[in-house]
């Protein structure tokens, strides 16, 4: 925790989360933006359109596509042609992009896309959970989750830096909770253009669609070579573990703000119970921790910032001495009755010497409010595990029996 806002108060403005993101994108000097509106991402693309209409993003084209499928497809072309390329979407839009997501990562195109996380249909629901991006976890994109407006804004610059690193060349999804972050007005320090220019060098890929140096992109790979392409993608993800940390550190050096690299921690050093979570719920959990700590409960928080690559080592280092670990998930793998953070954390412990019980809660589906009491109840469940062992590994929270 190197967070240091105090001396920045004078630079703060109160803006909507979407505006903070759009403003961050502007500071990153993209050449091509393409997106299709969908709630709660809409304000981001509206703000960007306005910036372009006002000539505030030089050398940038906005491609007003007819669908999300084409939005990301346009960025396949633009990124391959050497343009810094950006999009934003959520939920149905992201699911529609599914096939193109693989294409972008497979061709190693460093596109950056903000996801204003939202539940997926059916039933149709526009409110926040993280099922949309979690459902895309195997598409080869780096996935970062932000805790608040300041973080998603700053993460945007970090994302381009990570994606465009010649050792990485992978697309990055920066995820913010829909409405909770996208529509909230919070004081933030908007990214300073000059500092970002220092932080983020121009995008100059070694290979691009260039008639002076013709190359074939996205060739047809048979069983002789396909495996190696996949291997190299995985290798880039492995390297990204360090680059994500570096990007956060370098950002701290220049801007003085830090929210963690792969992960962040809060009160974990002596914690018996460690709660794991991603996104805006982290803020609520911190409040609960403050309250419980005051009552002598040794509870801490492990915030997961990078879900892909999954930071196994960083997580193990934090949880290895805990008595119980609780993963909170705003998503579910139906048929397994587990959320992704839970499954992956639990799975990562197998074949290690770390012997800590892990339990999971599916929480806040479709935008259901997560009150402080819910988190407190979850901590109570964790205490029971400490006393008498696991009774239920993974469960829904706050089910309304009368609706079942």
């Amino acid at each position: 925790m190197r967070r240091d806002y105090e001396n920045e108060k004078k630079d703060m403005v109160v803006v909507e989360g979407s505006y903070a993101v759009a403003s961050a994108v502007k500071a990153c000097r993209p050449n091509v933006i393409s997106a299709y509106p969908i709630t709660p991402q809409t304000h981001i693309v509206e703000e960007l359109s306005q910036f372009i209409a006002d000539g505030e993003i030089p050398n940038c084209e906005y491609v007003m596509v007819e669908s999300e499928f084409s939005a990301l497809s346009a960025l396949v072309g633009s990124s391959a042609a050497g343009a810094r390329s950006y999009s934003a979407t959520t939920s149905q839009g992201l699911e529609l992009m599914h096939e193109v997501l693989f294409n972008v990562s497979g061709m190693r195109l460093p596109v950056v896309m903000t996801i204003a996380n939202r539940a997926v249909s059916a039933p149709i629901n526009i409110w926040n959970d993280q099922q949309d991006s979690i459902s895309q976890r195997d598409t080869g994109w780096i996935q970062l989750y932000a805790e608040d407006t300041q973080e998603i804004s700053d993460m945007t610059a970090q994302a381009f830096k990570i994606a465009e690193d010649p050792d990485i060349l992978l697309p990055v999804m920066t995820c913010m909770d829909g409405f909770i972050l996208s529509h909230v007005y919070e004081p933030v320090v908007l990214l300073d253009d000059d500092l970002v220019a220092e932080y983020l060098p121009p995008f100059e890929p070694e290979l691009k669609l260039d008639p002076k140096n013709p190359k074939t992109f996205g060739a047809f790979a048979d069983p002789n070579s396909y495996t190696e392409f996949r291997y190299l993608q995985q290798q880039a993800m492995d390297k990204a573990l360090k680059k994500i940390e570096d990007a956060a550190d370098e950002f701290y050096d220049l801007f003085g703000r830090y929210y963690g690299g792969l992960i962040d921690t809060y009160e974990t050093d002596d914690a018996d119970i460690i709660l794991m979570a991603m996104g805006s719920i982290v803020g609520t959990i911190k409040d609960v921790i403050d309250k419980l700590r005051a009552n002598g409960v040794k509870v801490g928080l492990l915030k997961v910032r990078s879900f892909r690559p999954f930071p196994v080592e960083a997580i193990h280092n934090v949880i290895k001495d805990a008595k119980v670990v609780v993963a909170l998930d705003k998503n579910i793998s139906i048929g397994l009755n587990e959320g992704a953070l839970f499954t992956e954390t639990k799975g990562s412990l197998y074949n290690t010497k770390i012997d800590v019980p892990v339990i999971g809660f599916m929480i806040g589906q479709g935008g259901r409010d997560i009150p402080v009491e819910t988190i407190e109840n979850i901590v109570d469940e964790a205490k029971k595990v400490m006393d008498s062992g696991i009774t239920v590994e993974s469960q829904f929270t706050d089910l309304k029996e009368e609706l079942l």
Binding site: N31, V65, T216, G218, A221
Partner: protein
Amino acid sequence: MKSLLAPGHRGCAGCCDAMAAKFTLMAAGEDCIVVSPTGCLEVMTTPYPESSWEIPWIHSLFENNAAVASGIEAALKAKGEMGKTKIIAMGGDGATLDIGMRSVSGAFERGHDFTFVCIDNEAYMNTGVQRSGATPFAASTTTSPAGTVSFGNIRPKKNMPAIIAAHGSPYVATTSIGYPKDMIRKVKAAVDVEGPTYVHAHAPCTTGWGFDTSKTVEVAKMAVETCLWPLYEMEDGEITKVKKVKNPKPVEDYLKMQRRFKHLFTKEGGDEMIKKIQALADENIEKFGLQ
């Protein structure tokens, strides 16, 4: 004229797609970027680590080559590199008329400066000759087979050139790989006109249509000579040039050459279907003033 499609691709002998790609590149020259979706052309020209393309080439999905081309254009514009480089999206009839339709429509409506070349071999060849929106009336394909009660595909060809013209494209042309000079001239005209332009190339597929590998050009010419495939150009939505056909040949001569129409000559009621096809050709003569 230098061929920018290297020999040694893996298409069938007598492959129409290879010819279409070759002619397109002859027209465009070296300073171009090509996008092609999944389909025969892509599979046969880019088996990693080899590539037949001597210009920058990128694969798109089966359904989005016009959108990928839009992005390339946007990138060149944004970076001030939009000079002489031609952007060409080249896709099969399935990729153009069916699955890629929305992305094609979007790109034409937005008015990007690129040329779309549809290689119309009248079915999904890469997956084994299934019916597409461009499959002609009464053709037998593996998903619209002729059978005891069926004469094959019952729907007429989707009129893609008209749909594109309705988007306000400044230049739309039909051509055929049976007429290389015509095709090269039209693609050249298309790439030279600013804005989204379209060339629809009729491309007989030896494997899918069932004719000898040496006959691709002959079959292609017969489609034009029977008036089943009229060659014309449209500027700003108006037909401005038409290739006249002096003495149209009976459609039977064309149908007989191909396995996909074989049932019309063996099955009871086939002659009625042939009459209907002749009526389609007669309609073209009338509509496009082919004589």
